[in-house]
Amino acid sequence: MKKTLLVLAALLLATALLLPACAPKPKKVQIRWFVGLGTGTDANQVPVEQEVVADFNASQDKIELVLEVVPYESARDTLSTQIASGNGPDIVGPVGWEGTNAYRGQWLDLAPLIEETGYDINQFDPDLVAMQVTTDGQLGLPFAVFPAAVYYVPKMFDEAGLNYPPAKYGEKYVMPDGTEKPWDWNTLTEIAKLLTLDANGKNATEAGFDREAIVQVGYYPQWQDALHMAAFWGGVSADDYYDEDYNAIIPDAAKEAWTWYFNGMWGPQPFIPNASLAGSPEFSGGNVFNSGRAAMAITHFWYTCCLADFRDAGNEFQLAVLPANPKDGQVHGRVDADTFRIWKGTQHPKEAFEVLTYLVGPAVKKLAPVYGALPARPEYQQTFLEAKSAEYPFVTSWQPLLDGLAYPDVPSAEGWLPNMTQARDRIASFLDLISNDGTVDLEAQIEQLRQDLDVIFKK
């Protein structure tokens, strides 16, 4: 009897302990965060994203944030399939303009949510908030910005007896003979030729220079496509390539930029590697500046992600300001901007917005360093720069990059184009052609590009 009572008591105790566990919990709204259209899929980045998700989920009990990391190579296919089937993620990012515009019309206008929730957008630089406005509305909040600058290798300048390019906008370049020249594309070309060397140590301006045996180049447009080059050269934005009737236009500044690039590779005094050379193992298969064989490269802050080989080989780089256009004397910069978007088809816009404000708010501290992204919030920038200085202790000043923020491309060079993926593919083919074949009639190819874009835009 005593034993039976004991068993019953134990059962009662167990039931009492188990019942609260079985009681229905308030159901959390699940918000899916899709990573893959831009940075964020590297092995060192995913654990930090998981940490951010864990932090968010621990902070409240209404929303469950779920991370979906898809490799970059298949991210577009995956996202497209999800959207097509009506099962798109709630939040997508970090994503730049190209990824954003590839899905034009799919993003939620945040303006009504900002108004409804009273979210304070004054905490951001108004220009950066304005960068996120398109004809579809306020598509994002500032998260990370990537200004551009000239990355250069001081050692190569020293060996050539050249002064370093200017570190402040408005400064002139001092030639070896002491004469001053405006820091523009002409001056950059002039010194880039002197920095281009063949296997015998002759530079591109010297008699007997062997263009078939180039071992060091003066300049490389690192990870730039044809649209980027035109933007840096003459401030050409994506909108400039078509008119209101979708007639294709090749702006004069774009023609000038591409001609300069073409002549830099195939002209009598080359200073830019053609595609075969740039793609060779000796030049790091396209990551030319990282190979330590390029004296200068124009690229963005995000490029600090990919210079480990360069640094570990004992190389050092410094930063200089962007050159001006020799015609108008103006600097035409570019600022890449990554942020998070809410899919228009989300079933939970308010909850998604809450997550989004977390990602562009408290999560920046953890995410920005691992993304190599300069935080749009000024209060986080110093910490980020300190982290970068620890990574590249030889860089004396990041200021040329920070000053590049004053030269954004608004509207963006990566903006929307009619029939965008096909149009961009055609433009990429054009750049691929002129980078590989120095015998083409460039003017005819540009005209062919215009004709083809005309058809593509009007499809």
Binding site: S276, L277, S280, T421, Q422, S429, D432
Partner: protein
């Protein structure tokens, strides 16, 4: 298996099956069910879906905001009118050239031969004219060599020739891309050592003349499998036939054409069919080596590459599906034609008996 096949032809008699036969049939179906389910889910149903897509207007990126429209045969009509697919390669003479002199545009007499870029289907066919004979006869030649009684260390050579086939093809393409790099590749460096002037060095994948030989060289790297199949065919030829021929005084050429070739013709035919199917699906090399741009001069814009771009890059699902179905039909027709010709040149011992 034999019993299952017989069930198909004796459907009426199924009811008369004994309990044991029924049990065995169930077991058979159970064992094969993973394949049936996999085939239905991942092959048959997607095929049916893509066939339906060909009559619709689907662009995947527009997603739920773009209602799908019924297009009828619109996609087929657009495809058959698509010059980037069907344009016949042709040369034309341009007699005048526009020049700018002192800021004024002028037409001058300057005859030039220009080639209009061929359509993707023609690119595939023209490449096939180069590549198919190499894909058939080089493995055959190697197999004959490895089957020769005069060759020492046969096993070693067989292993060496087969080994590249084990290397993933993408890795091999990257490797060859490096070797044939016009600026820094070993091939051109070697040619320079031989005294070839720099200006005469092949530009390999960047040159219309050299691009197909470049691709063929890369393809030869992976012929180990075809060679092995040919070798197996050669080793199955009864030796008494050779002995009889020698007794009759036949020479090596007569032996090859009268005995070897007919006896291995089914194997050659098998390789031919695989090569033709592979040709129409040719895709990886132009995508990796020439970045899928069609460079130089549209010579590498293969049909399957265009299909990939339409379907995945531009995400025009319906048009891509239409291209896939037309490709299927083309391959089917070519295969049927080849089977038709097989009666005349492929020797099947069982049939002749």
């Amino acid at each position: 298996m034999e019993q299952l096949i017989s069930f198909r032809f004796r459907r009426v008699s199924l009811r008369k099956l004994s309990a044991k036969d029924r049990r065995e049939m169930k077991h058979g179906l159970t064992f094969i069910s993973p394949w049936i389910i996999g085939f239905m889910a991942f092959t048959f149903l997607p095929m049916v879906a893509t066939f339906i897509f060909t009559f619709l207007d689907m662009s995947i990126t527009e997603g739920i905001y773009n209602p799908v429209r019924f297009m009828g045969l619109g996609n087929y009509k657009a495809l058959f009118q698509d010059q980037t697919v069907w344009r016949v390669p042709s040369l034309r003479v341009v007699w005048t050239q526009e020049i700018v002199e002192d800021g004024i545009k002028k037409q001058i007499f300057s005859p030039q031969v220009k080639m209009d870029p061929p359509g993707a289907m023609w690119v595939t066919v023209v490449f096939g004219i180069y590549a198919l004979p190499v894909g058939i006869f080089v493995p055959l030649a190697l197999a004959l060599l490895l089957n020769s009684r005069y060759l020492k260390a046969k096993s070693l050579f067989r292993t060496l020739f087969y080994m590249p086939y084990v290397v993933p093809f993408v890795a091999a393409v990257f490797l060859w891309g490096g070797i044939l790099n016009p600026e820094t590749g070993w091939a051109n460096r070697f040619l320079m050592q031989l005294g070839v002037p720099k200006a005469a060095l092949p530009q390999w994948a960047n040159d219309v003349f050299w691009v197909y030989p470049t691709y063929i060289i890369m393809g030869i790297w992976g012929i180990g499998n075809a060679m092995l199949i040919m070798l197996a065919g050669l080793q199955n030829v009864p030796t008494e036939l050779y002995d009889a021929a020698k007794v009759d005084g036949a020479g090596p050429m007569a032996i090859f054409f009268k005995i070897t070739w007919p006896m291995i013709s089914p194997v050659v035919f098998y390789n031919l069919i695989l090569s033709v199917v592979g040709l129409f699906q040719y895709f990886l090399v132009p995508l990796v080596v020439n970045q899928g741009t069609g460079r130089p001069g549209g010579a590498t814009f293969f049909y399957n590459l265009k299909l990939y771009k339409e379907f995945f890059t531009y995400q025009k699902i319906s048009y891509g599906a239409t291209m896939a179905w037309i490709l299927f039909v083309v391959i089917l027709i070519v295969t049927i034609i080849l089977f038709g010709t097989a009666r005349k040149w492929v020797y099947y011992a069982a049939e002749s008996a």
